[in-house]
Structure formats: C-alpha cells, structure tokens
C-alpha cells in the first residue's frame, strides 16, 4: 500500500510541475486569445482582468477596416500553391533517390540540405532585382515560387524518408508488368505512401503560411499574406490591442489545428528522419 501511495504522490507532484510549465509556455497565447475578445480600453487596462464582458468588436473591426479576408486569401493561395509546386518537383526526385540509389545519392541529399543553410537574406539582393525586372514584386506568383524553392530541400528529404519505407518488391512487381516510372509513381507509390505525402504537405503548408522574410521583403499590399499584414501593426495608430489580437488569433488558428494534428510527423520531418 505504501508503495502505491508514494507512486501516486509522485504522479501528483509531476502533474503539478508539468502543468505549471505548460501553463507558463502557453500563457502568452492564452492572453492574446483573451485580449481578442476585449474592448480596446479594457485591453490596455494597467490592471488586467481575467473576467470582463466579451465582445466581438475586435474581429469586426479587423475585417471592416483592414479587409482581413484579402490577406487570408493571399496566405491560402501562396501556401497551398507553393506546396503543390514543390511536390511536383520533389516526388519524382525523392522517388528516384529512394528506389534507384546510386553512389552519389547520399551526397546529393546532403547537398540539397546544404542549400537550405544559406540564409535567405543572402539571396535577397538578386531575388529582389530579378523580381523587379520580371514584374514579380508584390505578386502571389512570385512569393509562391520563392516559398516553394525555399522549402524544396526539406520536402524532398521528408518524402525520401517515407518512400524508403515502401517495400521495393511491390514496385518491382509492377515494373515486371511493364509499367514505366511515372505510372509506377502514380498508380502505386502515391497510394502506398499517402500518409507520408499528407504529413509532408502539412509541414510545407505550415512553413509557407508562417514564412515572414520573403513575405515582408517581396510584397507590399496586393499580394501580402497574413504574416506581412500582422507586421503592419508594429507601427499602429490609436488603440489596437484587441484588433491585433483578433487578427493574430484568426491568422494562427488554422495552423495551430494543423500543427497539433501532425505533431508526430513534424518531428520526423524536421529532423530529416533522424528522430522518429
């Protein structure tokens, strides 16, 4: 009896400790969501209240004054578009490396990853000038292309680790039946590795949705995604805490849900299969 009692005691202690940590880490997010339902005067109150009369004024103001949906649409198009574009390149590439490895495959994979090591700002000058001359500044197409390129190495890697798990024999059987590589990918590999492709896409969407550097430097208003729209609150006029919180809450909500749904795959994806 004493043993199980001390076990329970230990569990209670761990519960308290872990929940304090979890609460501290989550608190800023909680506070922001709470603030989004306050009135502007309540939001800047020097003595904050946990209980207050909730209002949707912040949300209304963000849509009416700032046309929130315009930026949300840009974010959606850019993150989905860049993901699809990157997958078009990454799937054949990961397929060839996973199923026809050569002596150079390992080197190629590491080289792809090393291109990601270059800080984006190293490419800023040239991308900015090319985009200016090509008329791509402040366009969704331009931002979408850059996001796809920036995420491509990670997407190839992640797909590669998933494709590696598909048994070769299955694909080889199809090959005996005379199926070409593209057919093989389309008819067999895609259905077989669908969960892996879905989690890769989720990660790509999350990365593109949250991407801030290229969004801030290559777009101004027409093609600005939410990440850039939120930044416009850094030099605001008048009371803005509730509006900022409302806009932010809406901007992060979809990604929070996607992220929570894919937390296991996220570790695997971002550690390139090193931690599963």
């Amino acid at each position: 009896m004493t043993l199980s009692y001390s076990k329970l005691q230990r569990k209670m202690l761990m519960t308290v400790l872990a929940w304090i940590v979890a609460f501290l880490i989550f608190f800023p997010v909680f506070w922001m969501i709470l603030t989004s339902f306050k009135s502007e005067t309540e939001a800047i109150s020097r003595v904050p209240h946990l209980f207050f009369s909730a209002t949707l004024d912040g949300y209304r103001a963000v849509q009416e004054q700032a046309n929130y949906l315009h930026f949300a649409w840009n974010s959606l198009v850019v993150s989905l578009g860049s993901t699809v574009l990157a997958l078009v390149f990454a799937i054949p590439s990961a397929y060839s490396m996973a199923f026809s490895p050569t002596r150079r495959t390992r080197g190629t994979l590491l080289w792809m990853l090393s291109t990601k090591m270059m800080p984006p700002v190293g490419a800023l000058v040239s991308v900015y000038l090319i985009f200016r001359d090509a008329g791509l500044l402040d366009t969704k197409t331009g931002l979408l292309i850059v996001d796809a390129l920036a995420n491509l190495p990670i997407i190839v890697w992640m797909l590669y680790t998933y494709f590696k798990e598909v048994p070769r024999e299955v694909l080889e059987a199809a090959r005996m039946d005379g199926a070409g590589p593209l057919r093989e990918i389309y008819n067999l590999l895609l259905p077989l590795s669908m969960p892996g492709i879905v989690s890769t896409s989720l990660l790509a969407v999350i990365l593109a949705w949250n991407e801030a550097f290229w969004s801030l430097t290559l777009t101004t208003s027409k093609a600005a995604p939410l990440a850039a729209f939120i930044a416009s609150f850094s030099s605001p006029e008048g009371l803005f805490y509730a509006k900022l919180s409302a806009a932010s809450t809406m901007a992060i909500a979809p990604i929070l849900l996607l992220g929570w749904a894919s937390q296991k795959q996220l570790v695997r994806g971002l550690t390139f299969g090193a931690v599963k």
Binding site: F89, Y95, T102, M118, V121, A123, P181, I252, A274
Partner: protein, 299 residues
C-alpha cells in the same frame, strides 16, 4: 552505419536511365537557386549601384568592401548573429532536455499539456513578436509590467534597455517547443527495459539522466541543432517588428543589416558585400554541422 544504409545491397539501377533523370529537374532548380544569387551578389559587390541614383552605376573595385568594413554596425551585427544563435541553441536544447524528461513522466492530462506546450512553434514570427512586444513586454500595458508593479518593482522597457536579450527570449519561446518535442520523442524511444534495469541497479534520477538518457539523445540534439541553426541564421521578422535593429545597432544581426542596406538605403553594392559575408559565415557553420549530422544519419 551511415554508409551502409546508402550503399545498399539492393541491385543497381539496371540501366533504368529514366529513373535517375527524374531527379534532374529538382537538382537543376536548386542549383540555380543557390548559384545565381551567389554570382549576382559577387558581381554587385564590385559595383557602385544605388537604386536611388541609377545614373551613377559602374565598377567600384573594392569600394563597397572598404565601405562595409568601416561600417560601425558590421562587427556588432556579426557578433549579434552569433550571440543570438548560441544563446537560443543553449536555452532551447538545455531547457528542452530537462522538460523532455519531465514530460516523459506519467501525469494527469499529459496529452493536453503537451498540445499546449507545442503551440508557440506554430505561431507565425510576426504574431509572436508583436504579442510579446505589446502584451507581454510593454512597459505600461504589458503583463510582465503588471506583475512587476504588483510586487512593487519598477517595470523595465525591455526593447530599449535589453533589446537583444528580449529578442533572444522571444525566439527561444518559439523554438523551445520544437526542441522539447524532438527530445521527448527521443527519450520515449529509449527502451523501458534499459531504464528499469538501471533503476534495479540502484541508479538515482541524476545518474539515470547522466548515463542512460543523455547519451541516447545525441542524435536528436544534432538534428535539432541543425534545423534550428538553419532558421536562426535567418532571423529577421522578430527584429523587424520589435526593435528595427535598434537602439543604434544593438539588436541588428547580419540579416537585418543587409535588409537595411537594400530596402532602407537602396545600396545594392553594400548589401552585396554584407550578403557575401553572411553566406561565408553560414557555409563555415554548415560545413561543421553537415559533417556531424551526416555521421548521425541512418545509423
């Protein structure tokens, strides 16, 4: 072994040339994506080129290099870049390891607590920075100021007094969940039997951590360091919306310095030299990281 996983015993491609060529498009665009900016940057670094004075364009020899090297912001920007990287890595991996062990314990509501802890990682940098700037660290309306006032302390103006530290706090908050989750995954993959055996042998919690858990985490730490470094070298939005690199150059890193040159001074030549420097710095780090990462791969 790493080499083993790649030089597989599987049969060679058997003349399926079609398959290897499927990799060509990706290799080509990634090659262009990394080479074209580098060459253009190199070219512009030797030219006088200001977007505001397009008629004064021309060859400038080492003029830009001389100009940049005398820029008082440069040394500080390099130092800030390294400090930001080092501090955030130390905080997230150090604290992440401790918290991973804590979250590995059984406790009530573990699933929900884990989900809450993970949240900051999914929040876009512009949101988390403004959230901290206005609602946490603001000297009048911030929650931290409220806490300090309620215990009788005088609130501090974080971004004016300790700008870089403030940014380190924000970035660590963003990356701690990822480090924690990765390390937790690694801790959980540790054999329960091995832990039990060590406990039987009388290993206390500290000996357990030092001799059983920590050695097991090498790979997860290498991978976390790698991915964090990739993103931390490019930190930009957090500075952009909070301090704009100030006061002075106190919170300017290389990324932000280059941004200042391009989009605030329109000095393409100066920006090019700074960009080259950033690329060199990243490559030195990449060289060491890739080596240690490759060693940890597919063991």
């Amino acid at each position: 072994m790493a080499a083993h996983a790649f030089n597989t015993t599987q049969p060679p491609p058997r003349g399926r040339r079609g398959v290897w060529s499927l990799n060509t498009p990706t290799i080509t665009i990634l090659f262009l994506w990394s080479l074209v900016p580098l060459l253009m940057t190199l070219w512009f670094s030797f030219r006088r080129y200001n977007l505001m004075a397009p008629d004064r364009i021309g060859f400038d020899g080492l003029g830009n290099y001389r100009y940049l090297l005398t820029d008082p912001g440069l040394a500080l920007a390099i130092w800030n870049t390294i400090l930001l990287l080092g501090a955030v890595l130390a905080i997230t991996i150090g604290l992440g390891t401790v918290l991973a062990v804590l979250f590995d314990q059984e406790f009530f509501g573990r699933g929900i607590a884990r989900v809450l802890v993970l949240a900051p990682f999914f929040i876009m940098p512009t949101v988390s920075s403004l959230l901290w700037k206005n609602m946490m660290m603001h000297p009048d309306n911030g929650f931290i100021a409220f806490l300090m006032r309620s215990v009788g302390l005088k609130p501090i103006d974080w971004f004016a007094v300790v700008p870089l530290t403030s940014i380190i706090i924000i970035v660590s908050w963003q990356w701690l969940p990822f480090a924690l989750l990765t390390l937790l995954t690694a801790v959980q993959s540790l054999d329960a039997e091995r832990k039990e055996a060590a406990r039987m042998d009388g290993a206390g919690p500290i000996a357990m951590f030092r001799y059983i858990i920590l050695p097991h985490l090498g790979r997860a730490i290498a991978a976390t360091t790698m991915i964090e470094t990739i993103f931390l070298l490019g930190i930009f939005a957090e500075i952009y919306v909070t301090t704009s690199g100030g006061p002075g150059f106190a919170s300017t890193n290389l990324s932000f310095l280059i941004y200042r040159y391009v989009l605030q001074e329109y000095d393409i030549g100066g920006a090019a030299v700074a960009a080259l420097l950033a690329i060199v710095l990243a490559n030195i780090l990449a060289f060491f990281l890739m080596r240690s990462f490759a060693r940890n791969l597919e063991t």
